[in-house]
């Protein structure tokens, strides 16, 4: 019993070490491979950014709009009749930009881009493509991991900004035009509630989630050995780990932010 617990703990620690060292190894590879093609790296990064942020942009903006509208309507309807009415803009901005948007993006990116990365790299592993890169002297961290890491992280950060804007101002515009928000709340109130600290924490969360999703799924994909049936397992492991880490870290950061005022 204790032996089994020990083995499981050691395996978990070992995997955590490998995953956390992956972003460092990828960043280091940028400097190690300084004489190699930057064009190939840029092309791969832009491709990743396109598939992660540009292609599903309309979907993310729609999600932002709907969630912003719901939070605005709820906050206005519940708080306006009370003495807390003046806090509506702060509550809405914090709920949208700090909580809902980064978490929705993390969940969707895990299910969409994370699984795609784990599947692609797993397939490349099974098909001998990773070994072929290695045999050709092509650095795997530089050529495969770094573009996905940078692409997904940049996508997570930019989507957070755009989706928050869509949620706050798109939601406000839609709510106002439908007559759901009353007359006491103005767009300028929402703008005033967007403090640099809120933006900083939101972007920090988004960057952390992006790095986590990319690193965990790259690790899972590259951990596939030679059997095709390992790929769906790697997919599931990657998604579950990302969900757990993102929820935990999101909760920790949110509590810290609340405690520090």
């Amino acid at each position: 019993m204790f032996t089994r617990i020990g083995h499981v703990t050691l395996a978990a620690l070992s995997e955590t070490t490998r995953v956390t060292s992956l972003p460092y190894a990828a960043a280091k590879s940028y400097f190690v491979e300084r004489r190699k093609s930057r064009g190939l790296l840029l092309k791969s990064t832009l491709t990743q950014l396109y598939f992660t942020a540009v292609e599903p942009l309309a979907f993310f903006l729609t999600l932002g709009l709907i969630s912003g509208l719901v939070i605005l309507v709820l906050s206005v309807r519940l708080l306006e009749p009370t003495a807390l009415a003046q806090h509506v803009p702060t509550v809405v901005v914090r709920a949208v930009a700090l909580e809902v948007v980064p978490l929705i993006i993390a969940l969707v990116l895990t299910g969409r881009s994370g699984t795609a990365v784990a599947t692609e790299l797993g397939y490349m592993r099974v098909n001998g493509e990773v070994d072929a890169l290695d045999a050709a002297g092509i650095n795997i961290d530089y050529f495969l991991v770094l573009p996905r890491l940078v692409g997904i992280t940049l996508a997570s950060v930019t989507l957070t900004v755009m989706m928050s804007a869509a949620g706050l101002y798109g939601g406000y515009g839609l709510g106002s035009s439908l007559g759901l928000l009353g007359v006491a709340l103005h767009a300028s109130d929402l703008l005033d509630a967007v403090h640099p600290a809120v933006v900083g924490v939101a972007l920090m969360k988004a960057a952390f989630f992006g790095i986590t999703i990319a690193a965990v799924n790259c690790h899972q994909g590259l951990s596939v050995k030679r059997v095709m049936t390992e790929i769906p397992r790697a997919n599931v492991r990657g998604s579950v780990r990302c969900y757990v880490v993102c929820f935990l870290v999101n909760a920790m950061i949110s509590i810290l932010v609340v405690l520090r005022g």
């Binding site: 190690v32 190699k36 093609s37 050709a136």
Partner: protein, 239 residues
Amino acid sequence: MADSAGAQPPPALELDRVGVVNELGLPLLMRIRLTVQAGEALAVVGRNGSGKSTLLRVVAGLIAPRSGTVRIAGEDVFSLDYHAQQRVRTRVGMVFERGGVWANRTIESNISLPLEYHHPELDTRKTVRQVAEELGIDGSLNRPATEADASVQRRTLIARALVMQPALLLFDEPQHSLTPDEARPVCDAIERRRTQQRLTVIYADHDGHVDPFRVDRCVYLAHGQLTNQIPAGQRFSIA
């Protein structure tokens, strides 16, 4: 040939007591001693599972040996720093038995990628086209790799290895996916480089019938160990 200092150049490849184990600790290769001179063509022959592909993977740097040393052109590759190891590895071309084609690229991109990566300053198109013409796949350069047949994919791997002008070529199952007519230009391209650039070639094959590929020497691998060295031309059957 002696160099200016009068010393013999180092062998193209020297394996000294190389041992490899799998993840379960079971031996795959045991105390392999093998020397291949520059310009030589060697066939490593053995049954399926005897360790031929593992041996090639060790030389290509894909598997680190548990014991022993691997010297390529006199350099102990696994003790070198990263950049030196990369420099040595770009001089080794590997043609895998199966897989290895980058699925989301065209045939041309599959051939040119290592060259573009290591030498971004070069215009790769002319070099790639020349090698593709030699191997008879120049008509397929713009096709997606996944749409090409097995023979074109196989020759793509060979072209990818040759385009880097390797000093040592590792060729796993040379006849795999190639008809005799398709193998002939591949053989000619290799022989041309052996003559002009003293290319060293190691073929791995399961039955020793590597025609039309020409070999100077055969070694036999059984259960991860090298046994009697068998002269080329001598046919042997492995039941």
